[in-house]
Symmetry: D2
Subunit: 304 residues, 4 copies
């Protein structure tokens, strides 16, 4: 019978490693959620329960902690070290994928002075990195994605939505002024593996924010594309950007039944923030002259 094992990978997900640099009184903290996965020849484990090729997920977890002991650095750098270590650990392992979430901590200010060892963690936004090593030995390819999730942004004006086709089921009114809100997930692929990860991340993030703010938006698609385009224009090390942007609807509340209008003026305009359903815009912006690298994205959520 022509039944066989297809694509597969396995690993340890969500290792919560926190590393504290105490080499000076001014401590530094790195807070990561690390997931690793191995690719290679694991057929016997599937078909016969033979684990001779299965580097345990427990060992992968231990490796995260052991490597962190040597210093962590940026999520991208740590992902590279871990992915290369895992991919090179046994001949039958032909690839590794490491996904890192990085949670930021800010120093608590006491009487205006940032504290040496007390921190506050802002919630929400998360920095991400995904490193994929594909193959072992001289022909191995290594890919680095950086990104962020849950960057929640909103414009109270400077957003229109007009000129769309009207089929039988279209009832939406056109608008020249609406609230535009979204939670940006963005990931971008780098062309190198030895870059200024922290500097680039900060630059790309700032570009995404500034472009969202500065774009007079005729469609959320337009904002998305403008944001990706700006990143590629400013950062030659970035090959492509993929974004997912839910349209978090803020509906103008109809107050007319109570004899109230709801138009701009001295009093605030009142909206209802709705949960579901929501529009979902997904798109990518790419360089024409850069070859694609689908393996870099394999296993990463999202459409494109």
């Amino acid at each position: 019978m022509a039944i066989r094992l297809g694509a597969n990978q396995y690993g340890k997900a969500e290792v919560r490693v926190v590393a504290v640099d105490r080499s000076s009184p001014r401590h530094e903290i790195v807070d990561l959620n690390v997931s690793s996965a191995l690719r290679g020849d694991f057929a016997a484990a599937h078909t016969a329960g033979d684990n001779a090729h299965v580097l345990t997920t427990d060992a992968q977890k231990n490796t995260v902690f052991a490597l962190a002991r040597d210093g962590v650095g940026s999520p991208e750098a740590f992902g590279l070290r871990l992915a290369r270590h895992l991919a090179g650990s046994y001949p039958w392992i032909t690839g590794a994928r490491v996904a890192v979430e990085s949670y930021g901590w800010e120093r608590i200010a006491v009487a205006g002075v940032p504290h040496d060892h007390a921190f506050r963690r802002p919630g929400g936004e998360v920095r991400t990195a995904v490193v994929t090593v594909d193959g072992d030995g001289p022909g191995a390819q290594t890919h680095v994605l950086a990104g962020l999730t849950d960057l929640v942004v909103l414009k109270t004006t400077g957003s229109e939505f007009r000129g769309f086709p009207r089929d039988r089921y279209t009832t939406l009114a056109e608008t020249g002024d609406r609230v535009l809100a979204t939670a940006v997930t963005a990931r971008w692929r780098y062309l190198g593996t030895d870059l200024d990860w922290d500097g680039l991340f900060t630059g790309v993030r700032t570009t995404l924010l500034e472009t969202f703010a500065a774009t007079h938006s005729l469609a959320l698609q337009q904002s998305l594309y403008a944001m990706g385009e700006a990143v590629l224009e400013r950062f030659g090390d970035v090959a492509e950007v993929r974004m997912s942007m839910p349209n978090r609807h803020h509906f103008l509340q109809d107050l007319s039944a109570f004899g109230l209008d709801n138009t701009p003026g001295d009093r605030p305009v009142v909206y209802h923030a709705d949960d579901r359903p929501y529009g979902l815009i997904e798109g990518s912006v790419v360089r024409d002259d850069v070859p694609p690298a689908e393996v870099a994205w394999q296993g990463t959520p999202g459409f494109c």
Copy 2:
């Protein structure tokens, strides 16, 4: 400059439609969470904010409700109707993806008799369907995935884990008897578009459950493969199965510090159910003689 729009799609996510058949006193209820996405030529919206091609996500939502009014049927059948309608609505729309989550409801028994119009919704497990229409006109391809998520299963014995390699970071002890627990996410691709969707779903689900239970497991990979293989062996309409199975660790609790053992016998064996990290096993089982159809899976979470 060689910057351009890459892959993209957009739509309305999580339309919560509930349809009640009241044509007899014995009501029937269908409870769905429907997400649609369109593919095609939407470049102008991205690059110029020109929405002439943008069938609004609001209209997509309305379409869900309007089509539901004509009867819903199985998630797969409803997804097919909606995806075909959307893909065929305008020339520039060249594809549609519809993802459906279906929540089951059971009749409440009153004095042992199932009630005509009162129901209880068991939580957890969700039935899923994903329909992809790729292209319009005679060359259009239509793909149907069925699936389930959060099927939580556990074996209290009949699971070993031994014979794995030991690198520097391997500290795990071998075991001939452990608790094996997972939350199965499975999706399978059908070879047709006019099948007995409900009957097949029930059959595949039963096969997954029975195979998990009956397999003496030497590795979670082995259980995963056996489950997929059994589905393909029994259901000729299924082309491939993809599964994601987190290893929900149940660690034997060490009670020796209090002078207690923790071995099988008259008293229960005590485990600690751990949250993170967890092993994550992902794999697919395929038929050799069926061509792949990656477009059927595009946008669906998971590695393979």
Copy 3:
């Protein structure tokens, strides 16, 4: 300065203990989430960092596992054993509260036969128990609450909402036939500490379900009261019932813009299940001749 420590408690939350009875080939599984809290004289820990009275939360966790090794039984029985043990452990501990969530597992049927050691965990609904020991020695009072959360129920008819007052802001139309859906959280206080916990739980749960189904509802408040009243009528060991029932709105979808009606008939009636905001009905049903026991409820979420 007249600043002092007020009410306080501390403990270990969410100990995930799983106990497997392997004394016969037909295994039994108990799956609990146990939280303990101690009350008493812990002032010095607060005001001076003096931990001489602080039985560690780590020890409380260990106690959960150690006591589970002796057998678990019902959530109420286990809560009683643990709360009594903790409350009696040191003179300065004058009370303990133990809250237990119990997750059910069903045997997987293989070829129609329930399996000896393979289980499926239905999600959603959770059985709860809260045991409070108040005081130590002869005057100690012990209270047992049983309960359930996330019992999701729905009626497709047999629910009206009419006759309400209309102030300036009332725009809701009256209805003689609506969908009524809720997720019941119910807790009830027992009059004894040595009862048939499992039998009573099953009986109360069935009563709640049957009464919800059988009540022609003129208001969700009416359903809530009828459910509580039925429990008190049937179970003399129950002193009071407290319930929280969100009104999970299912709005009739207006399809008229597309030329469709949405009335009962051959085709299904279509509703939109909404997330937020939601009505929230909270109420209690009590016996007049039973003294209240607020300490039994202290620390348990809910209004009443």
Copy 4:
């Protein structure tokens, strides 16, 4: 039969109102999640389905939007307006509780300049307010609680845990230097109803943060008490503070099996951030000379 209705309330939960002040080009945004509940004589609705006293939850929702149209201000001020309006709307309504969550938005900086109408929402921490009106007419009492949830803080040193008693189940080692992390939920009761709400909130929050940072902690209880005490010392308008602080354990990772130490020095110290179980410390700090007001807290989660 001596069965009767006990304590009850009902209302609309989680009205997501967003108000934008567009009276100048520099927009201001207020983003709230508002829940209201009414108390009074609603017995007939419960026992007879008579809704003559039931001001609909839909009308309560409408009232939130209508009142927001007149301007929102601080969460406390808005809660006061809404609670007083609801409590005074009908004779049979004898009390109202309004709970508000407030989500902050920061202006996006473009080229270093805060934007007029583009914002970013930091996640995590939420500002809360609870207003309770108890009674109507001259004898009515009004109470205001302010608060915050999910203020996540951590110290990398300056935390010990020693000197605790050792019972049979105590295995924890003493430590003179541990990571201390928690997510603070704090609520405090004001003595007035016409205060500088925003100024006080900022002051109390800063006091909580600074005290957490500056306290050399011998127990999490000590940190909690010091934080509450500092608030009462600095803010005479605050009558009491109630806090809930989970101990988010960061366990020192044992690396000895791989031949590594894990002590402070040039290389980082490596911890594992654990999810469950967790210690949970709950406590209140009060003024001796202020009468308690339990009704102010009724319906608010937490032990004390």
